[in-house]
């Protein structure tokens, strides 16, 4: 098993204490350990509300934020020690797809530009003909017709088409990992399906791992294998989607799932949930950060922070309600996902025996 990217006890803080700070320190990502593996490509969702740290986590993975504490390792090597060449390779192997398909384009260039530029930059094609073929293949891979797409300006295409061109652009670089930060939140519901479907095909057909950052648990459930739920910088629950979504154990995950507007008028929301208090600095909270909104809060939640407890081999939670299950030995969150793929691998072996 080879590890593509590893976060080792990574923390990222913003703001400062002391003389020049205003005392508000945001711990956007708090002591997260996880790995992205390339032998077993999977789709992992990072979910949480605005301000939960999911975008900071994805920027750490892209190398565009430097951890305040902890280390990031790329193919086993400390990220800060990479040579220029290794760093360049890293930038090709992990490709982002951003939220806003309108802002990702320069309106003065035809859409061909965003496709030909990366080929030029990474010297992927030896001739103009090869370049054109690569572009056409990538567009077809995401379900676009090259003849109807190339030669147009961004404003002549729909949001859904523009976002699919971004997927095609990422594809051209033959990445190992695609990091999609809210790729469908600005696209009409009827067009979301096609974009998510092309992302899923990348994973299945080309073996690319996908990190899908979203607050939409419904689409997360539909396309991903694993899920991490974040709240104010901490990972409060993680596991396989088939385990977490039907059986959420952390009260925050439960609130998130209950709040999804179900398309069933006979089954409406319960009472209004309490609002988050943004006035306290993260460093002032000694206990669980969800304590002030938690319906199941206990005394100890306000004074000490819960650890990661393993509910079963496919699910962990950071909540004292599950303290008796025992603290996880391996802090790496992804270890809860890997047990599943190992069991899957084990089954055919048994059957053949």
């Amino acid at each position: 098993m080879s590890t593509f990217l590893e976060l080792d006890h990574v923390t990222k803080k913003f703001g400062s204490e002391g003389m020049f700070g205003n005392g508000m320190v945001t711990i956007a990502v708090d002591d997260v350990s996880l790995t992205i593996d390339e032998d077993e490509p999977s789709i992992t969702t990072v979910a949480g509300e605005s301000g939960s740290g999911k975008t900071t986590l994805s920027r750490l993975l892209l190398g565009s934020h430097v951890p305040t504490e902890g280390r990031m390792l790329y193919r086993g090597k400390d990220f800060t020690q990479l040579t220029r060449r290794e760093r360049r390779n890293f930038r090709r192997e992990i490709q982002p797809i951003f939220q806003d398909p309108f802002e990702s384009y320069n309106p003065f260039y035809k859409v061909d530009h965003v496709l030909s530029e990366p080929i030029k930059n990474f010297k992927l094609a030896s001739s103009g003909r090869e370049k054109n073929r690569m572009i056409e293949d990538a567009l077809e891979m995401v379900g676009l017709v090259p003849g109807e797409t190339l030669g147009r300006f961004p404003h002549q295409l729909s949001g859904g088409q523009r976002q699919r061109i971004m997927v095609a652009r990422a594809l051209l670089l033959k990445p190992r990992v695609i990091l999609a930060d809210e790729p469908v939140s600005m696209v009409d519901a009827s067009l979301r399906a096609t974009i998510l479907d092309s992302i899923r095909r990348l994973n299945r057909d080309l073996g690319i791992s996908v990190v899908y950052v979203t607050h939409d648990l419904t689409t997360a459930y539909q396309i991903s294998d694993n899920i991490l739920i974040m709240y104010r910088g901490t990972i409060v629950e993680a596991g396989t989607v088939d385990q977490v979504i039907p059986n959420p154990q952390h009260p925050y995950t439960q609130l998130l799932i209950e709040s999804i507007p179900q398309p069933d008028p006979k089954n409406r929301w319960g009472s209004e949930p309490p609002q988050q208090n943004w006035d306290t600095s993260d460093t002032d909270i000694a206990g669980c950060r969800f304590a002030d909104r938690c319906p199941a809060v206990m005394d100890q939640c306000r004074t000490s922070a819960p650890k990661q407890y393993l509910i079963n081999e496919k699910q962990l939670t950071r909540c004292f309600l599950h303290e008796e299950k025992g603290e996880m030995q391996n802090p790496d969150i992804t270890s809860t996902f890997q047990t599943e793929s190992e069991t899957i691998k084990a089954i055919p072996a048994d059957m053949s025996a």
Binding site: S190, A193, R268, W269, S271, Q275
Partner: protein, 344 residues
Amino acid sequence: MSTEQSIQTYRDGARITDVDALVVDGLSVYYETEGGTVKACDGVTFTLKQGERFALVGESGSGKTTLAMALMRLTRPPGHIAKGSVTLHGRDITSLDDKEMRQARLAEIALVPQGAMNSLNPIMRIGKQIIDGVIDHLKDDEPTPTKDELDEMVHDLLTRVGLRPGVARLWPHELSGGMKQRVAMAIGISLRPKLIIADEPTSALDVVVQRQIMQTLGRLQEGLDASIMLVGHDMGLVAQFADTIGVMYAGKLVEVGPVEEVFSNPKHPYTKLLIGSLPSLQEKREFLGIPGLPPLLVDLPLGCAFADRCPSRFDKCETAIPEKLNIGGRRDVACHLYEDEVQS
């Protein structure tokens, strides 16, 4: 004719009275462009009762925001209201002069805009923005309220939308997206309007905040005994919030009915596809989008605008535009499939 049965809802605590709050009749909004006339909203007819929550859904470009803006008479050139009337509690607002309309906005019909983050003035404190509209709407002979009265009004409004009173002293950039949307709601209800138009009020917010905002909006609407028109494309939100749903496609209202009935038994093929394409948490399945794209509003087909994408189309759909049919109770559908049913 009794309409008792027609205003039933599964919503707890709903108080819908059989009084017409808003009657929209044959409303058409056209944009004159070099390429021709764009029929962004064409012959739209529906009625909203007092205390009712009506949701208008459709994809981008279907004309739902055009319709909402026309109800506020905020249509800008080259757009204009070409035909039809809008009657709010017995008064036709299409015939008001500009000064009267200006008085009616906020006082009788208020807008909670899409993307509240862009609708607040960045260089004005929150408290001042909330009372700005109140002061602007004072009648000529009305005395200006004292500072204490205004402070109390701001305090009361902020508390009602779930913000602490201290927010009055803050600037917009100091608030989160959800808090800004709450401020926009405080402004919207400041003059106790009879109709609130909420145009995708939560589209940029995450699920928990979205739920909180929608529940606050509902509580405010119930407190004012007002009607509400929610404009959006999230069918889940509509199911949770509304009593009645109207589905727009290419400028026309293609289906109207009580939310429970439309969700359990959609009639128009477009509504069926919309509901069928919703991802679910109960089961995993392949995604079903709606194949094809809506037609250009400047170049509408001769027949039904949905015909190209419709799985149930037949010859007539290519040649004749379907008229609105009443299929019982408060359910209307504009589709040739149901013509025989209605006639027999």
